[in-house]
Amino acid sequence: MEKRYLGIISATENRDDLRRLAAHRSIGAIPLGGKYRVIDFVLSNMVNAGITTIAVLAESDSRSLRDHVGTGRAWDLNRRHGGIFVFSDTAKERLTYDIKMLKDNIEYLVKSKEENVVISSTHLISSFDLKKAMDKHESSGADITAVYKKVNTADSEYLDLGVFDFNGDGTIEGVHRNQGKDKKANISMEMFILSKELLLDLIEKCSYINYSRNSTSIIYEQIGKLNIKGYEYTGYLGVVNSLLSYFKTNMDMLSVETTKELFFDEENPVYSKSKDSSPTEYYETSKVSNALIANGCKIKGEVKKSIISRSVVIEEGAYIENSIILQNCTIKSGVKLKNVILDKNVTLSEGTELKGSELYPLVIEKELTRYEK
């Protein structure tokens, strides 16, 4: 690679629509697909494209995100030169602005040796060859390259994300928020490629207004002023920006095509922090179909169309359908679940029956207070 790239991951998305699931964690740290966290996907895409220096901009309450990222070892980012660096906002306010964090840590940006930057949010789930987008950026001569996907389901999915309008030669002319009015839309993946110099310039320009901005919005503001080209991504695109999109993205992973594309592509593996759980144990009474199951579970009951994270115990006579069960939950005998999201460490006592609807999945929040065995 001739030009070197700095990755910047902005883990500061508004998470109000994820309710209790995001009460104690950034979107990047939300568990997904049985053993992953949201941030794994964008991190892996960057690493697979050869980026070895990545800055993560995190909110003030980012313990679980920091815990997950750690030294960056899972992504081979535990490096002497470059590697991963997590910045955190020390502000007490609920809202965090990544431009303010970049301004506060401008020294890091100035000092880094990389000439170019890929800046991305975390909440869009994809696995693709970002290197191709970087190459296209360099050959096109654009000031900024924005990654997007053409979708046919914008009326029910990808809500609240940016939608690009293009002119004839692939330059982005305008952007608006997807309010679900059209089926077809060019959905912005909130991933941009630009020179570091330009990014520094854009940050500097904010000083005339104020730094309480997000990188996505300051780049959108340049549409029409700078040469911003699109790079079309054609693979699977999941979203985690609301409870419903989180539920859907997990359920999408039950489809063989999606799983193959996301997880079994040897060129673009998805890395995640590893755990020392044993293999999953299936008992004589277990009945499992159409499910994603992580390691370390003990399964004696019935599981259908569901995602089961690590170290979950499902007792004999329990029935789970269309649900997402996060780490360390215990589901006792006689429990019936349908359209439920069970956050970490929840124990459901015998005979509990919980039912949400597909449009309104029921969330049972993380058990924080109970420590007895």
Binding site: G34, Y36, V256, T259, F263, D276, P279, N290, A291
Partner: protein, 380 residues
């Protein structure tokens, strides 16, 4: 000067020829076990859990996979500034180089390594046994008994005793005789290949043993009888719990099956005594609509559309629709074609079975070596 109270030495250099094709390209301690482990994870995790952080691993036979796997020992939290894991192959010296001639000789050749830690005690372990053991408890016992050497033993059935090194003891656990694989065993206390020696005594014995040209330089055959002959105090440390020597195909298969036993002889889920293993980067298990899984251990990265019964599947195994696996151990990335039937078999890595073929171990456990493409029925 820092020192370590006890240094552990793991004997991992043997060929393990009784595991046949499984050790064609791989040392026995690196043979996969239990869905995601390798045999050496057990002694290494025991060391880590016992707080022993100076470990030498003696390697010799086909060490490439074992080397890569152990690396700097991070998996077992043994990447330490002082101590940690050290891989110890045989080496050239000014008067030539020597292969490790026997278990005792391999320790003899590494006297300098052990002496650097100036330990009171040395723990000798085998790299090919499946068990969980707190070596600290054994050390405490060794000190209380004021012994020169302590040998961990397990009570085996009388009919099996002649397969082991048997310790004959007086009432207070003191050894008066050691018999290697006796035809008519006098006791059922089998040596587990776990020894604690006072380092000073052992060093002296190793040097003398090396000078004795008739010696086979083996712990069981030479060092233990020698110490006994000199009137040293050798005691046995009775171990209760699961222990298995997985030196043969049958015992390797049995030990895998023991993990599935409902009366659970061996619990790998134990959070208080974890078995650490290098994690592969694989997605969650994908269980299809037509899957049927009973009494089995399945690892991340598997894709299951068929029936799996009473079996252990390592990561990345694909079981296609209508395939049936029973009483078998399938190592990484094997593919069982649709409608194929596999029974009483051990598969190495990357085996594929063509659609509808039958692979049966009838009288014995059938081994299919790694990378083999099975295109016809194999029934043995």
């Amino acid at each position: 000067m820092m020192k370590k109270e006890m240094v552990a030495m793991i004997l991992a250099g043997g060929q393990g020829s009784r595991l046949k094709l499984l050790t064609k390209n791989n040392a026995k301690p690196a043979v996969p076990f239990g869905g995601k482990y390798r045999i050496i994870d057990f002694p290494l995790s025991n060391c880590s859990n016992s707080g022993i952080d100076a470990v030498g691993v003696l390697i010799q036979y086909k060490p490439r996979i074992l080397n890569t796997y152990i690396g700097i020992g991070r998996t077992w939290d043994l990447d330490r500034n002082f101590g940690g894991i050290n891989l110890l192959p045989p080496f050239m010296q000014e008067n030539g180089g020597f292969w490790y001639k026997g278990t005792a000789n391999s320790i003899y050749q590494n006297i300098d390594f052990i002496s650097d830690y100036d330990p009171e005690y040395v723990l000798i372990l085998s790299g090919d046994h499946i068990y969980k053991m707190d070596y600290n408890k054994m050390l405490k016992y060794h000190k209380e008994r004021n012994a020169d050497a302590t040998i961990a033993v397990i009570d085996v059935p009388l009919e099996e005793a002649s397969r082991f090194g048997i310790m004959n003891v007086k009432g207070d656990h003191e050894v008066y005789e050691f018999e290697e694989k006796p035809e008519h065993p006098k006791s059922t206390l089998a040596s587990m290949g776990v020894y604690i020696f006072n380092w000073k005594e052992l060093k002296k014995a190793l040097i003398e043993d090396e000078e004795n040209e008739k010696s086979t330089n083996d712990f069981g055959k030479d060092i233990i009888p020698k110490l006994l002959g000199e009137g040293k105090k050798l005691v046995v440390y009775p171990f209760e719990g699961y222990w298995k020597d997985v030196g043969t195909l049958e015992s390797l298969w049995e030990a895998n099956m023991d993990l599935l036993n409902p009366r659970k002889k061996f619990d790998i889920f134990d959070n208080d005594w974890r078995i650490y293993s290098k994690a592969l980067n694989k997605p969650s298990q994908v269980i299809g609509e037509t899957a049927n899984i009973k009494n089995s251990l399945i690892t991340e990265g598997c894709v299951i559309d068929g029936t799996v019964e009473n079996s252990v599947l390592f990561s990345g195994v694909i079981v296609e629709k209508g395939a049936h696996i029973k009483d078998s151990v399938i190592m990484c990335n094997s593919v069982i074609g649709s409608g194929a039937v596999v029974e009483r078999a051990i598969f190495g890595n990357n085996v594929s079975v063509a659609n509808g073929k039958r692979v049966y171990g009838k009288s014995e456990i059938l081994l299919i070596e790694e990378d083999r493409k099975v295109q016809e029925d194999i029934i043995k």
